[in-house]
Symmetry: C3
Subunit: 136 residues, 3 copies
């Protein structure tokens, strides 16, 4: 089953927690056990699986991405957002999470974030939910 989520991001770098919205989509799809495939169709955004408990983790992630991919290197890409393209490659556009008992099966501290890297913008996340019942 194919599902689209969207989100309005609020700043240049912004981690939007979409964990519960994905769980709601799995509930609507009525799938108990399976795999949830997540895909971000943008070249200056991505998807992050990490701690969603302490919001300082989010700000630290933004800081270290800026440290690793500084804005002031001699980039050639004329739009001026090469750092965002590269951050998107580093965090990844495609991730999967298992589904168990009708919900994302994650670790105790894990959540799913849409990672805005060149916002604020309107962004999409594409989801495909595959049931184990269909494959086993």
């Amino acid at each position: 089953m194919f599902i689209k989520l969207d989100a309005q991001t609020r700043s240049k770098v912004d981690l939007v927690d979409i964990t519960e919205r994905i769980n709601e989509a799995i509930t609507e799809a009525d799938i108990s056990e399976g795999i949830c495939f997540l895909y971000c169709p943008h070249t200056t955004a991505g998807i992050i699986l990490n701690e969603n408990w302490d919001p300082t983790v989010e700000s630290d992630v933004a800081m270290i991405l800026d440290h690793m991919v500084p804005e002031d290197l001699p980039y050639r890409h004329a739009e001026g957002n090469s750092p965002a393209h590269i951050k998107s490659i580093l965090v990844g556009s495609d991730h999967f999470i298992f589904i168990h008992n009708g919900r994302l099966q994650m670790g105790q501290w894990q959540g799913v974030f849409l990672a805005e890297l060149d916002g604020p913008r309107h962004r999409d996340i594409w989801i495909k939910v595959v049931s184990d019942a269909d494959t086993c």
Copy 2:
């Protein structure tokens, strides 16, 4: 269905756009809706999903990878290509993209690149195409 692609890379760091070659493979596999799994069996190359419209994005990606993983750290690996191993881990060896209407379902600006990180060499990409019709 399992498909192998290969490519001859042209320089030490080289992003080879393989988007249309994958679309041709999906056409040959005669799959309309599904998931395309891409795997790079090399330890000094990888796969990148990002902008394939403006070629300066490619050169900026190569530059920032060199900035992040400098050649002159005290590496111990005797072959001298530790930076390429690490870049391979950062960009990733395994990625998936949904299939819709018999083609890769990507964002407007997205393409798929074989990322050569220690070339020039002859490289392989392994592809598995799974149809939704088989699982739903």
Copy 3:
């Protein structure tokens, strides 16, 4: 089929080769052709696919991760392990590998590592093995 592996890591950053343990799990699952999905449910650990032949690659990976994500930036996360969270995002928590002839189908030099980034700790790896026979 869902399988859990666990491992005790031995140091702060530690790459534990789990390739053969996964192969044993595939043998027990009696699957010949398919896809093996690997998931790390921790926010300060991850999974790495790369060379498992020369152990100096492992120590070089640890060194460059420390270089890219230094310990002495002004992190706000009070637990003091923000660098480990970020390294986890960079290497990734979710990876897949094809299965062929009842074993992981990897390149000649590739292996699978549990990447401990804030150890030593006891860690889990979750595995889902999907057979092509079930989907094709």
